[in-house]
């Protein structure tokens, strides 16, 4: 599957015409394959769910059979039902199969060939596999008779309402194949720009598009580019791929599914700003992303699209990959640059901005993966097109990772301004196991928890800030009745205490004090005045910390106090944890009326604390119970209650 650069028939690309030649050649394999084509979603998430084993099984089975071709793609977003496998053939609809583990892959291929009877295995058929950039080509399945009684993928709640710009190719192309990227209009923006756009005009386009940084701060990208271009010196282009927010993984998905879109975005930024060197700072925890980036860089270099004299022009640009080493603070721009220089990742005070004096003291432009992935689409389709989507101050689309207590876990890309309710309940399918929605956490450890009453909030940079949270990199963690908000605040403070670089007092000492108070509250040792003290400490940390990590650190605490003060009070005054998370503040009981005596809890209990006769209500020995929660999760009759 890994097309080695040496093996591939790589040609030096000099013009748009060369791209068109490749497009013609590869649209056959993308859209009109001569054999049956099986595309297995092989991003980290898919592989963890069994996609690689499925790929190996299928490759082995069809090693000598030219009628079936096995291929890989990136992640198509719907992680909940991975491994996802798309099967297509010329003249037949394209069908997406779900939950295709290694034991099911051969049957799924057989099912596609022989009648599509396994309805439960089928997620849907595709109405239109073109990306948003391919409007001028005919819909490859436009004239194909669709299968009866199989829903269209585009009509499934999860995909309905999504508009894919940054994720346009994820799950649709082989990430290790530059030609497939080119066949989906890849590198077209770069070459057209080199042909007839001055750098200043490109910056204007990005400015007019209203694109804001997708990494957390949301600073307008065009303004950043323009300021960086204004300053003289050895300019650098950096891509922040150190995706540190827990619960957000869109950057990983883009790097693993469509690495060339990021390279092209950086190449465009380099040309616009006047730089000849780019760096990608990528998390060491993402080995597959690194591998695919390395392959992509080698291929782009071999094609003459990266390196010296790109496409025969005067423009030269190189990209180096550096791996991070597990420090959340390195998502902060100055800390990241320190780390790139081989130093400890400690932020600097921004008296002088990095666009003037950043990496190696030269003017530096830093954007994240998702931001760069949007750039080629904007340059190709125009600023107006992009600015036509979204809200007044937040243009275009945003990728969110819907995770936590939600039915349809996955990556979704929607226009800015869609309401939280639509995202969580329509696309995300709501909360599983008939539990009650409690809050949605956005923005990672720097963000906040948004309660139910704001579900109609249109999601954009401003609106999230108005309710005390932030957009961040787009993580959305759904929380239900079983999530304790005090524990969530404690969790984030624990995270930030570990990740604070320790150089400024308010952050280092302040977070520790906040954590100590929260830990006490969770342990049942909370006292009157704690809430007020937390508020006071929080406001101090916000005001006086040096960098963004510190100034945003109290957000999870302050928003949970603001919206879930009653839970704090229950912990402090009543010594109760209503959600049943803080062990010192609750115990389990068996509801004799609801208990059917099925015995599942008794068998699963690691302490043998539950006993009783079959078909009769069981009893729980409080002395032995360690509150591990196994019985609570296992009981199908809601007979284990939190008291």
């Amino acid at each position: 599957m890994n097309k080695d650069v040496e093996e591939a028939k790589i040609m030096k690309i000099q013009s748009v015409k060369d791209l068109e030649k490749i497009t013609r050649e590869y649209s056959t394999s993308l859209y009109y394959p001569e054999s049956i084509k099986v595309n297995i979603g092989m991003a980290s998430c898919g592989i963890a769910a069994g996609a690689e084993a499925a790929y190996n099984t299928a490759s082995e089975a069809f090693a000598n059979d030219k009628a079936v071709q096995i291929g890989q793609t990136g992640c198509i977003g719907f992680c909940e039902v991975e491994p996802l496998v798309e099967i297509l053939a010329n003249g037949r609809p394209r069908v997406m199969y779900q939950n295709i583990t290694p034991d099911k892959i051969l049957d799924a291929i057989d099912d596609y060939q022989n009648g599509l009877s396994k309805k439960k295995w089928i997620l849907g058929q595709m109405r239109d596999p073109r990306s948003i950039l391919e409007g001028e080509i005919d819909n490859p399945v436009g004239k194909v008779e669709p299968f009866e009684a199989i829903p269209f993928l585009e009509d499934i709640p999860f995909y309905k309402g999504q508009v894919k710009i940054a994720l346009r190719n994820c799950g649709y192309i082989d990430p290790d194949c530059i030609e497939e990227y080119i066949a989906k209009k890849g590198y077209r923006a770069l070459l057209e720009m080199l042909d007839h756009s001055e750098p200043g005009k490109v910056i204007e386009t990005i400015k007019e598009s209203g694109l804001r940084g997708r990494g957390g701060g949301g600073f307008p990208a065009g303004i950043k580019w323009a300021t960086c271009a204004k300053h003289d010196g050895d300019r650098s282009i950096i891509c922040n791929a150190d995706e540190g927010d827990p619960g957000a993984y869109m950057d990983r998905s883009i790097l693993e599914g469509d690495p060339h879109s990021v390279l092209e975005g950086m190449l465009i930024a380099g040309y616009a700003i006047g730089s000849r060197q780019g760096y990608i700072y990528v998390r060491n925890e993402y080995p597959l992303a690194v591998k695919r980036l390395v392959t992509a860089i080698k291929q782009a270099e071999a094609c003459g699209l990266l390196g010296e004299n790109i496409a025969g022009t005067d423009y030269s640009f190189n990209i180096k990959i550096s791996t991070g080493a597990g420090a959340f603070v390195c998502g902060e721009s100055t800390a990241l640059m320190a780390s790139l220089e081989g130093n400890v990742g400690r932020p600097k005070a921004k008296y002088v901005h990095t666009v003037e004096k950043g990496f190696r003291d030269g003017p530096t432009n830093l954007n994240n993966v998702e931001t760069y992935a949007n750039v080629p689409a904007i340059v190709l389709q125009g600023a107006e097109w992009y600015a036509g989507m979204g809200t007044d101050h937040s243009k275009g689309t945003k990728v969110f990772s819907l995770v936590g207590k939600i039915k349809n876990t996955g990556l979704v890309e929607v226009p800015m301004g869609m309401s939280l309710k639509e995202i969580v309940f329509n696309i995300g399918g709501g909360i599983p196991k008939k539990k009650k929605f409690k809050a949605i956490q956005t923005g990672g450890p720097s963000g906040g928890c948004i309660p139910e009453r704001f579900l109609d909030l249109p999601v954009d940079f401003q609106k999230l800030a108005e309710v005390g949270s932030i957009m961040g990199s787009g993580g959305m963690i759904a929380m239900d009745q079983d999530t304790c908000m005090v524990d969530v605040a404690r969790y984030f403070m624990d995270f930030l205490k570990e990740e604070s670089c320790g150089q400024c007092n308010p952050c280092r000492e302040g977070i520790k004090q906040v954590l100590d108070i929260l830990t006490n509250i969770c342990a049942g040792k909370g006292k009157e005045g704690d809430i007020e003290l937390l508020e006071e400490l929080g406001s101090m940390i916000q005001k006086f910390s040096l960098c963004g990590l510190g100034t945003a650190a109290p957000n999870p605490v302050l928003t949970t106090i603001l919206y879930f003060r009653n839970e704090y009070e229950a912990h402090i005054r009543d010594k109760k944890c209503p959600a049943g998370v803080c062990k010192a503040l609750f115990h389990y009981e068996i509801d004799a009326d609801a208990c059917t005596g099925c015995g599942v809890c008794a068998r699963k209990c690691p302490q043998d604390a539950i006993s009783g006769e079959k078909k009769k209500p069981h009893t729980l020995d409080q002395e032995l119970c360690i509150k591990c929660g196994i019985c609570y999760e296992a009981c199908k009759f809601n007979a284990i209650t939190i008291c």
């Binding site: 998430c45 827990p246 619960g247 080493a325 220089e341 081989g342 936590g404 969530v488 929660g629």
Partner: protein, 167 residues
Amino acid sequence: MNQAIPQESDQHIETEVDFVELDTIIDDEFGNDKENLIMILQAIQRKYNYVPQPALTYLSAKIGIPYSKIYGVATFYSTFSLEPRGRNIISICLGTACHVRGGERVRERIQESLEISDGQTTEDQRFTLESVRCIGCCSLGPVVKINEDMHGRISSDEVDRILDQYE
């Protein structure tokens, strides 16, 4: 971030460092470039499963960075371990999605079962337990990664069965 320097009791398992091989890593792979310090340390850790102290001393002389600074970098980033790690590395994901789905309970169960806490290695060198912040497989939460194997959607009662698969 807070790894201790090797204790005396660890001395008997101090790894022998091959300095010629170190040279290959530093010169050939990373061009003897100070800016590549973090990646050099990662390469050393990949080779030895941790960063042995003699390698740090050698690196300091070779690349021209004071030992104190190298030590600072090696202890600042959570990836690096200055102590020998076990044959199997358990990485428990403590990302938010895993946390709200019960990741903490899984960690407690592992700690109880192996009688070690976060960052420690079992006496028989079989396991090292490390917590990581989100590996981006949130749909499978709670997730535990053992070496390169991903175990998803696990509950605390499955922990022992999973650990038994590793020698």
